[in-house]
């Protein structure tokens, strides 16, 4: 078994309204920042032990499918790295 950290990033699908991101963008603009667009995402860092990277990714993928993301509104991606 090897120690991995799986990072699951959950973001709204393109085209789904993100009022919190819009509000954040407006606040940044009020502070004088210039920006084109702002998108927000949730990031989960999951430490787990697995036989290999593939298995770690598969398990993190299932976590995203079952709970971390809502397929109606979200896309997600999974990145796996060995953990020191």
């Amino acid at each position: 078994m090897t120690a991995y950290t799986a990072t699951v990033t959950v973001r709204l699908k393109r085209g789904v309204l993100d009022p919190e991101a819009e509000t954040t963008q407006q606040a940044l603009e009020r502070l004088g920042f210039e920006l084109g667009d702002l998108r927000s995402a949730d990031r989960f860092e999951i430490d787990l032990d697995a036989d290999d990277e593939h298995e770690a990714a598969e398990r993190a993928d299932e976590m995203a499918e079952r709970l971390l993301a809502n397929p109606t509104i979200h896309d997600y991606d999974v990145a796996v790295e060995p953990r020191e």
Partner: protein, 224 residues
Amino acid sequence: MTVSVVRFGGSNCDRDAVRALEYLGVDADIVWHEDGLPADTEGVVVPGGFSYGDYLRAGAMAAQSPVMDEVRALADDGVPVLGVCNGAQIGCEAGMTPGAFTTNASARFQCERVHLRVENADTPWTAAYSEGDVLEVPIAHGEGRFEIGEDAYDDLVADDRVLFRYCDADGEVTDEANPNGSTGAVAGLTGDRDNVAVMMPHPERATLPELGATDGQGVLSAFA
């Protein structure tokens, strides 16, 4: 009929639901979710509130709790199940109804009275009304914007599963009358079968005459 009102940590409309049901002559008891549903449960309300502190997404945690497997099994047997507000979010997260309820377009928590147009009066939840009736019922939510994929929305409409749409006092569905930016101004819908329904507005807050509004009685009378 005995209705089980499922209480999670953070539910806060459970007692309101029991009082409203009892006013309509329906036996109702609060059931702590970890205790499971009593064997004599003949109806289920998943009430409003902030179960699990709305962590992750409103309703996401409660939807995964074991009691929801029991609720789903009863629903499959035809038992009436109603999710209100947080209960509606839980119902969608649990896959009992399609779509999702997410952050209001305003990005604000909104607590106000709204108007609803009855879209389909041929369900247990709307049998007390006529199609096109306009109800006045309160909302109180920050995450009530109904989102659903285009194809799934078309199916929902084609199958006549929209119960209520937000409208103005005259029954017109307009952008101005849509409090949260919901797709199709959908405020309530049924599952695959019409014994399961979810809605963001609170019928239990529009049932007791002393609260000044009674238009929600018809929804809860599905349990009578």
